[in-house]
């Protein structure tokens, strides 16, 4: 089964780049997950200022340029894993957030762990 993990944080509060020690710790986690054959894909996202929200409201599609000032937390990066259970995915998320707690003083945020729908799940 596949899981998507997304790190979310308050962009206003966590201004500035993450500390190098955190980046090193994240790289190490990624390296280990690659060796374990579980990490399929990952990426960090530019601040929401560079993005846009395409919304449907009242049947109308509108485009709002970033930053997403209305949002409490904004996705900052994602990773896709092939794992064997939801518990494993939660553990992966836990390790990811532990290094944030350790290396980024004052960090507040969350890691959303979601299972990806498998084509084989249809019709079962």
């Amino acid at each position: 089964m596949r899981f998507l993990t997304m790190i979310k944080m308050d962009e206003g509060r966590m201004a500035g780049p993450p500390p190098p020690a955190l980046m090193a710790a994240i790289a190490e986690l990624g390296e280990q997950a690659t060796k374990d054959g579980t990490l399929l894909d990952q990426g960090g996202l530019y601040p929401s200022q560079a993005g846009a929200l395409v919304q449907v409201s009242g049947g109308k599609v509108t485009v709002i340029d970033g930053p997403f000032t209305e949002a409490k937390e904004v996705v900052g990066g994602y990773a896709m894993f092939q794992l064997r259970s939801r518990e494993e995915a939660v553990e992966v998320g836990r390790r990811f957030m532990e290094v944030h707690a350790l290396h980024w003083p004052g960090f507040e945020g969350s890691c959303e762990v979601r299972q990806i729908f498998d084509p084989g799940d249809f019709g079962q």
Binding site: M1, K35, D36, G37, L40, Q82, R84, S85, E87, P119
Partner: protein
Amino acid sequence: MTDETAHRSVEAVWRLESARVIAGLVRMVRDVALAEDLAQDALEAALQQWPETGVPANPGAWLMAVAKRRAVDHFRRAERLERKHALLAHAAVVDPSAAALDAVVEDDIEDDLLRLMFICCHPVLSTEARVALTLRLLGGLTTKEIARSFLTSEATVAQRIVRAKRTLGEARVPFEVPSRAERTQRLSSVLEVLYLVFNEGYSATAGGDWMRPALCEEALRLGRVLAGLAPDEPEVHGLVALMEIQASRSAARTGPRGEPVLLLDQNRSRWDQLLVRRGLAALERAETLPGPPGRYVLQAQIAACHARAVTAAATDWARVAELYAALAVQEPSPVVELNRAVTLAMAHGPHAGLVLVDQLRTEPSLQGYHLLPSVRGDLLARLGRAEEARAEFRRAAALTQNERERALLLRRAEAAVSP
């Protein structure tokens, strides 16, 4: 957190760490059975403590430390017994001092994992034993899960694993990466086990037991692990590429009613492009390494030809036929020859394929194989030899075990008419 969820969380952490822990322990105690027992002790300790204390910051190191302490206890006990009975236990050759145990450092874990892979797939073991041991020790699957995957009983699998561990002990299989001379053959045994596990899952029909598709994922994962441990082996990357590309077609392989959809009829937009990309990248790594392509690299190259073709019609059949010719040299087999005939027909017309198929008609191993008359029927029909084509389709229909395929073959027999 309820007891059950706490239990499941601990087990999930265990699964992420268990192969490394067991590999490190085997190096320490030189005994697969003992290493697994010690690792189980560590898991028990974790199940007791973590729900209270929380998961430690470095769970792998925690599990290893507990297992090491148990190992020291074990050897002290064994030593005392030995003095008492003046017996020479096999354990006596191991230095039980804490210093010796501490010599197992993080850095060596990679080598330990590679050694464990070679041991689990050792030629003294039967293929079934290799598969069970690999899934148990490297995949961290329970005997119950292995039994379910292979549609057999838990007792059978448990016994298979116990016997395998005993065989390894009796044969005094050393815990080492095989020497140059032996390495190619030993590596091909590991690759064979991984591909066998993959195919066991891949051949399962959609909508079946979830454990069987999970086998594909596990084989693929272990292949990726092996590629990290033995990065200079082109065949390892070749197998990974082959599995990634085959797995990319999972969603397209079956129709809405669960019927199989053949490669050329598949909706290519349903191929998983992430896996295709990963497969092509693995193949590229294999191709940059020196040496002529082996059987897995060749099969991956064939799979890549299909993966790169935007439509079935856009397939580079001349290249596929070339690759099958190379594969037939590496791995001479009538089934490979039959595939080569099909691709020759695609590349150079039905007559080119028929020449080769006709040579295969006397092949004893293909006598009950429905694809031989099915392919021949197809080529004859395309050449306008309707009467012969009909007879071949009927013969194929009588041979196939699959109802849907039989119906299709009979329809094709009906449809074959003289020009």
